[in-house]
Amino acid sequence: MTSRPGSAVWFAHHESRLAWRDWLAMLTAGRRQRLWKVAIGVGVFMLVMHAVAYSLVGRFAAAPADKPMLVAITASLLLSWLLMVSQAMESMTRAFYSRADLDLILASPVAAHKLFAVRIATVALAVAVMALPLALPFIDTLVVRGGPRWIGAYGVIVAMGAAAGALAVALTVALFRVLGPKRTRLVAQIVAAVIGAAFVIGLQVAAILSYGTLSRSDVLQSDAVLAITPGVDSIFWWPARAALGEGQALAAVLALSFILLGAAIALIAPRFGGYAIAASGVANSTVSRARQPTGFRPTSPRRALRQKEWTLLRRDPWLVSQTLMQMLYLVPPALMLWRSFASGGGTFNLLVPVLVMAAGQLAGGLAWLTISGEDAPDLVATAPVDPRFVLRAKIEAVLGAIAVVFTPLVAVLAVASPWHALVTGCGIVGAAVSATAVQLWFRTQAKRSQFRRRQVSSRVATFAEAFSSIAWAATAAVAAIDLWLGIVPGLIALLLVACAWLISPRERAI
């Protein structure tokens, strides 16, 4: 059966085909023959996740729907929902600012608002679908251990996706109207990052201030929280009750979410084209001036390359939001450091892996931007500079940036505990060098603007970078307690990096 061209169903078919092919290309890096490997990888991942879920939530499956249970479920749902809103906001901002097929759609004699309605709905659907692989093992475990009542949790995921899509589009449009198209992109990215991180960080801060630990459950199950939350019959718990399989609550939550999404679509879809045109015109109307220039500075090719990389990193909008998020995640450890320093406690061991992990993650992103994300590859390749010097300069730029970010933190730690500062410093060097090396071995040629899709180029590189950061964080954490015990995870970290080198592509163009 074919739908009428120009109808919402026809557009939905068109969008779903594009989304499916895009998703497939992302998973297989554009090589269809990799599909079976991806399928095996996803299968293994789901098995591992089921094992993890079984150990984490299995014992709660048959628990009664009392207040502590409702608080725990609601907090988990709220955390997941905020992450969904964050993801939906990012997708919505991208939809606004990408010109893509806009000219074709608006120049055609179809009712464009139908397509835009489909696009808004697709964002909502996409965040729900993306949440499923993570939620599925937990819900499956609860269904197996606690009975079919937990099946309602799947419905809650769908409702959360719809509500997240509605809020994301409303927030993005509100920013657009208040700040204008010029500033919205950056602010929306930052708001998305803050929304995603704020809840978990807020809970950690509360836990640290109240109990001196990083545990969020200590706060959620505390008498104070249980006392101030509404009674068990309140509609506040309907999402949690819906997840627990109460039919009435599930119907209400689903209905409310779809009403919200429907209202957002009805209000915004007819104006979407205008917003997108305003957003896509920003590049042509925005003029950013540099500071009053001084004279050309004496420089060598290597220094010129380093300087260029640092200037571009400073002016990178992705990096601004990403660094802000990194800084937000460093708030709880910093608070912990402050409390431990004040009370003379011995909790520095918790800080060490957090800092090392953050350094590895940041170095991986910076390394991709500087090594693979070269906007003028031909210019650099035709310069009279040995390609090895070019790479060396880029690596220096990455490690220099990491040093600038983490040296002050390590210096503060050194005042409180020189030993922990030394271990942290070594861990940061290990994690940053490993992440940079992985990005170097798996380098590709791409535009900086393609950063969001860097994982597409090599899943192996993505996993190698993540696992080496985790391994270095573990090494530093163990070494902070006992230096000799740190040898084993340290060797594992080195082994991971060596494996990445062995399977990296060897052939390089000149």
Binding site: A290, P293, K308, T311, A383, P384, I510
Partner: protein
């Protein structure tokens, strides 16, 4: 009897150049361009023009053959060859987040130009290309023409002896195209050598000293327009345009293939 003027030295000498992908893209190509010459390389899509230029610029290694730029063996000493060359493609190689001035400072740094000299040249080029007012604005807001002019300024800031251009006028408006052509003409007057591919035959006809026609990776004809007409034979007459001549030469090659 006065001695005849000795021929200008070769700025570019290519011998037996070969590059194969799934099929031969460049197939035993020979090319000789004299210093101070404006040489246009024409050919249908997929003829091997861009591949040839990318190999000369050091962006791609040939499977066989030799490339000599201003007397330097570009395959044996690519860094020395790159020092006297500049490369411009149809897609301007600039950074959105840098200003034209910062971009020129970066390029001058890469080529090791002395800062004071580079600054003077940058100012002169920006002035020449009508970019002084935008010198401190980031390139992200620039039109295609402005971006191409920034790239051209970058290519000239280190005073290259050989400039290689791959379709530099694609997508430019008439005003920008004229400015670029003026700058290129000035460079050849100053002794620079230009090797350019273009699909705009009128540009080749009006600007080039010599034109090479490439098809299936081979040079099928070369010379001035008059010489090309002769090589095209009976299919063209003495008043034939370059377009007629080019199409006749390419058709002849296609029949032969």
């Amino acid at each position: 009897m006065p001695n005849p003027t000795p021929p200008a030295p070769l700025a570019l000498a290519v011998r037996g150049l070969v590059k194969r992908f799934e099929r031969p893209a460049v197939d035993g190509l020979d090319l000789a361009v004299r210093a101070g010459e404006f040489y246009a390389l024409l050919g249908p899509n997929g003829a091997g023009k861009t591949t040839t230029l990318r190999m000369i610029a050091g962006l791609m290694r040939p499977d066989a053959g030799s490339i000599c730029v201003a007397g330097i063996d570009a395959l044996a000493d690519p860094v020395a060859a790159k020092r006297v060359m500049a490369w411009i493609s149809d897609e301007p190689m600039i950074y959105d987040k840098l200003t034209p001035r910062e971009y020129l400072e970066f390029v001058a740094g890469l080529w090791g130009v002395e800062p004071a000299l580079a600054e003077d040249r940058a100012h002169e080029l920006l002035n020449w290309l009508g970019l002084v007012a935008q010198a401190n604005e980031r390139c992200e807001s620039f039109s295609k023409g402005m971006r191409q002019k920034v790239a051209l300024a970058g290519a000239l800031v280190h005073e290259p002896r050989v400039i290689i251009l791959d379709e530099p006028l694609t997508g430019l408006d008439a005003g920008s195209a004229r400015e670029v052509k003026t700058v290129l003409r000035e460079r050849t007057r100053a002794g620079g050598t230009i090797i350019m591919t273009t699909h705009i035959l009128e540009v080749a006809e009006r600007m080039a000293d010599r034109i090479g026609v490439i098809a299936h990776g081979k040079l099928v004809a070369e010379g001035t327009l008059a010489e090309l007409r002769l090589q095209a034979g009976e299919k063209t007459d003495a008043s034939a345009s370059l377009e007629d001549t080019f199409l006749a030469l390419v058709a002849e090659q296609a029949q032969a293939a």
